[in-house]
Amino acid sequence: MATVAEYWRWKEYNWSDPDNDPRKADVISAGVDVGSVSSQAVVMTDGKLYAFANMRTGSDSPESAEKAITWALEDTPITLDDIHFSVGTGYGRVNVPFAKKAITEIACHARGANFMYGPSVRTVLDMGGQDCKAIHCDEKGKVQAFLMNDKCAAGTGRGMEVMADLLSLPIEEVGEMSLDVEEEPPPVSSTCVVFAKSEASGLLRQGWPKNKVLAAYCSAMAHRVCSLLERIGVEKQFAITGGIAKNSGVVKRIEKELGVEALKCETDSQIAGAVGAALFGRVLHLKAQKKKG
């Protein structure tokens, strides 16, 4: 039987810092972000990024959380028992069995973006697998205003996966390809992923090349999230987190529509929520210790 290529499948991976000895750290904290599409586990030593894993969420939230943290710790000398405080976040936050506390992904993304992109970040746009969040935060990463759209998948990562599958193109390449057009085509429907997909199918039948269809889709997605951002406004500096931050086709179109450039970061934009959760974990552990005396 021929194997069927699954173009939407983005690469899962883990990472750890070999130069950092976690056994020397005072506080080892972990953050686990169980999202609708992907799960991330981040381990931090005294507020420094030490290890993480980024993988797809399965149908079982507790199992996904366990798998992610196990994978993050795989190449490290420590185990789950060495972690002082774990915080769960994301859709499945209440289902992280080893977490001592659950914190909303809104607070975690703001805190994580503050760490990853620097304290000058004021607006964070988290483009997740199945929702989109716009957040304003202060220089400490504390949320000042937020807006979340989780009612529909238009303008989210899952929508882009559906489109990659339709066009038989690897998800990692669709962003760049969408920029390879001479003229920007009119956007497809931005109201619904299902409508957008059927519209895109129609355009393909009309003979549109794949990159032009992608351009129309990326531009619809950018337009959709920009209209969401209008409600809370955009203050500089501006950062995008989540999987779509890796899609240059959408990011460049958002930047163009808003007239603001998004900050770049070498760390994986998808782990921002889990980083925030791990940072919360550290503070909560220190607070608990102080109480104990």
Binding site: N149, T191, L228
Partner: protein, 93 residues
Amino acid sequence: MLANYGYKDGSGDFFLTIDTDRCIDCESRPCVSACPAGVLEIIEDDYGDDVCAVQDAQRKQIKYSCAGCKPTTGWTTLPCLEACPNGALQHSW
């Protein structure tokens, strides 16, 4: 914090906005009982403050839950907005 609860979909914008900084010190919380649909509740937010919020289960159906308090049913303003002593609530429709 300006908490926007609700959604934007093909039929419009449906958001209840709660300025939690204005409701932290409110003791009576009249908004919760003022809402005929029981949409609001008091929660502890991520920073440990007790504030008013839209219930989790209501966030994706605000258009329908709040339909009874639209101008067509005789309301000129919303009962929750009227009840709030600090002007912490706003709505998008």
